[in-house]
Symmetry: C2
Subunit: 241 residues, 2 copies
């Protein structure tokens, strides 16, 4: 079976956490909105697909994954599903819940990362909320980055096996890799200072980046470059040590 991933075609965004899991698993998938229009590609088709009145389980927003008859929305929920199918998380209950708990904490961090440049409203341009963004960025860099990265450093230290959960890579490790990569793009000065305190997180990032399938993916045209439309955006005025 070939999965269909449905997500905005021009950004990594939340879809990237799903792409990384699919790529690491070596799963067959089509990134539908990135195909040409004859194959359902483009943003307009994505929006139309989401709003089809016959959908019994309509998603609130992209991404969603079509897996045969199943249509699954919400990034962490998609990863829960893929974790079971592709052994990207422990199969026993305690381990499955723990991996999911970490993913939900990464999702919380991601919302905060996004809201640094959109503290007032997602429907407004950055330029309309730049003063508020500067203020939020200060608080984010000083308090939130150390708190979240420090938490994952603690989890890595207590697990002691170089991964967040057990002795193998899970979707949560792939997602933490993506958060580190994204923050390095968005806030290089902040990360330069923050990374010194979280050597385990940095080592995990490097380990994931060198996994053969991930390395091949990152070097391929399937990996969209970070850009100023995504969740991770580099606005120099929001960065700092």
């Amino acid at each position: 079976m070939q999965y269909e991933l449905h997500y905005w075609p021009g950004i990594q965004g939340r879809g990237e956490f799903v792409r990384l899991a699919l790529e690491y698993a070596g799963a067959a998938y089509v990134d539908v909105a990135r195909t040409d229009e004859a194959h359902g590609g483009g943003e307009e088709a994505l929006m139309r697909a989401m709003r089809r009145p016959e959908l019994r389980h309509p998603p609130f927003a992209p991404p969603w994954l079509k897996a045969g008859e199943l249509l699954i929305g919400q990034t962490a929920n998609i990863l829960l599903f893929l974790g079971r199918r592709h052994d990207l998380a422990p199969q026993e209950e305690a381990g499955e819940l723990w991996a999911h708990q970490l993913q939900l904490t990464l999702a919380d961090f991601l919302v905060e990362i996004h809201d640094v440049h959109h503290p007032i409203g997602v429907g407004l341009y950055y330029e309309e909320q730049i003063e508020e963004a500067k203020r939020r960025a200060q608080d984010f860099r000083k308090h939130r980055v150390p708190k979240f990265l420090g938490y994952f450093e603690t989890v890595l230290t207590r697990n002691g096996a170089g991964f967040l959960v057990g002795s193998r890579c899970t979707y949560a490790d792939l997602s933490l890799f993506q958060i580190v990569a994204g923050l390095r793009y968005a806030m290089p000065k902040c990360m330069h200072a923050a990374e010194r305190r979280v050597p385990g997180v940095v080592a995990l990032h490097d380990r994931i980046a060198s996994e053969p399938r991930i390395a091949a993916y990152l070097a391929s045209p399937r990996r969209i470059a970070f850009n100023q439309e995504g969740i991770f955006r580099h606005y120099p005025e929001l960065d700092g040590p």
Copy 2:
């Protein structure tokens, strides 16, 4: 087995979504931080418990649930677990994932509800970000409340059975009840206008409120009153039609 819920003792907050599920299921639990200090009650003991260095699966923040040997954090993750144990969600995969997807969307809504009064930083007082809060509240009332409530109205309409998922109450229904109740407290003018467009959501709220175990809970001292320390806060300057 008696569950232990660990959450801030003075607010409904995220813990309330867990309390509602436990109460609806008729499950035995202790709300640990609300007991006296001799039994581990109080905020200081809660913080100490979270930071115990021997925890293999440390939570990032309250709430967490202790279920025998299991320690589960992240509200939606706790509900995923309770849904299985107490039949608060479909047992088959498609239904389980769909209920969880809705819960994660409610969690996204809840973050936005919180950030209306804390748009700059969770560590700052409301009074330090009141101007930004006013601006965010305008956007929230105009765009986000109709979008989220309208989405759940659509889900209810398409399901057609008076509940979000299938023909029985799930933890997602209990959580939507709580969101409606909380928004009515926080933004009565906004909700007065918004509710006219979502009769199914309003009917669901009323149905859940009159479920015998929920009605008994809401009338009991176990239900903490809404207050200005929680996620839902009534600041008149943030409300409006």
